[in-house]
Amino acid sequence: MRVLDSPSPTKRARRVAGMAAVFAVAVLAVGGFIAGRATGAHGATQSIMDVDGVPVGVRHSPAGALAAADSYLGSEQQTVERDPVRFAALVREAYAPGLRDAALRAARDDRLRDPSGLALWARGGQSFVVIGAHHLDYYHGGMAEVRTWAGQVFWGPGTSPAQTWALGRTTLVWIRDRWRVSAMDTLPSPGPAPAETPQAGSRDDTTAVFDGLLRGFTAVRYGTADG
């Protein structure tokens, strides 16, 4: 999660200047992968398998690549700042070997650069990642690239609920039995953000309302039409 660098007590409809990178900036070349043609792991009928709490994309198809990219991006955003242990598990299970060390270093650097975000989590802050839309830019069997419009909603004690959006790109490579991330970066063009939230008001835009109405809610999961 990349919380705004300087969360300010803005009121609705007032824009916060500057937007922190929403996606992990991990533009790292990973060359030389000869993608395998293995079939889905574990005799899977689902496109996403849970491996030690990590959503792993195991469907070797265009739809499977989309589901994997959605799942990986969502998981990355949810954990990179807030839960480094789970983020490390994601890297171990779903990142290409050549990217792992750099991804962990980049995550550590991101956390150091965002003390306000870490403070929010330490105070019991909450967040949900939103995959708004996606596009399969290419699929060549062993490799795929997905462009994603994604957002994040976060709130907590002392931080009124806020949303942030960005466009990202995830490059995947199929290795042995699953899709693995070979690159994940934020696109420079602005991520579509709303101009209007006409419903907003004190009845529905406070931390107390969010805590109350969303207690027990969990993140959605992604998949394909056939599993």
Binding site: V130, I131, W165, L213, R221
Partner: protein, 157 residues
């Protein structure tokens, strides 16, 4: 199409997302109701939606489920609450969001989940602080960035 708790959640997520889009692009609403809503519940859903204000025809719309909760599950029956956001924009319409909570009752019939009750609580929790530049909030930016994109598919992973 799986009569399991995870199957019910995945079905609800996909139905809610499709329903939001259909409610904002009314031409799709009848098709949505015919495909996913139990026959007895269709008239009520269509009548309720017709009473709500809607964006001008031709407006782009996309629905997203942010989070969910399985309220109850028993064989062939489930109740799910979903936190949803609908976004719409167009040439004469500034990019606008509405947030809501959707409460669904589902039954597993004929090999798939069907909606028997769909109630929307407006507004849902609204994250009113919006990060980003003003350029991110123009209809042009939305159209340019999202043309060709599609909503994600929700699964059981």
């Amino acid at each position: 199409v799986l009569d399991t708790p995870a199957g019910a959640l995945a079905a609800a997520d996909n139905y809610v997302a499709a329903g939001i889009t259909a409610s904002l692009a009314r031409s799709e609403l009848r098709e949505f109701a015919d495909a996913l809503v139990a026959p007895a519940a269709r008239p009520s859903l269509l009548a309720t939606t017709a009473r709500l204000p809607s964006p001008p025809p031709g407006t782009n719309a996309i629905g997203t489920v942010v989070a969910h909760s399985l309220v109850s599950y028993a064989r062939a029956r489930a109740r799910v609450s979903a936190w949803e956001v609908g976004s719409y924009w167009g040439e004469s319409v500034a990019p606008t969001q509405y947030w809501a909570m959707a409460d669904l009752t589902l039954r597993f019939f004929g090999g798939r989940w069907q909606v028997t009750v769909l109630e929307e609580r407006l507004p849902g929790p609204v994250p009113a602080r919006i990060a980003g530049t003003s350029a991110a909030a123009t209809a042009g930016t939305w159209s340019q960035a999202l043309t060709g994109m599609s909503a994600p598919y929700y699964g059981m992973g």
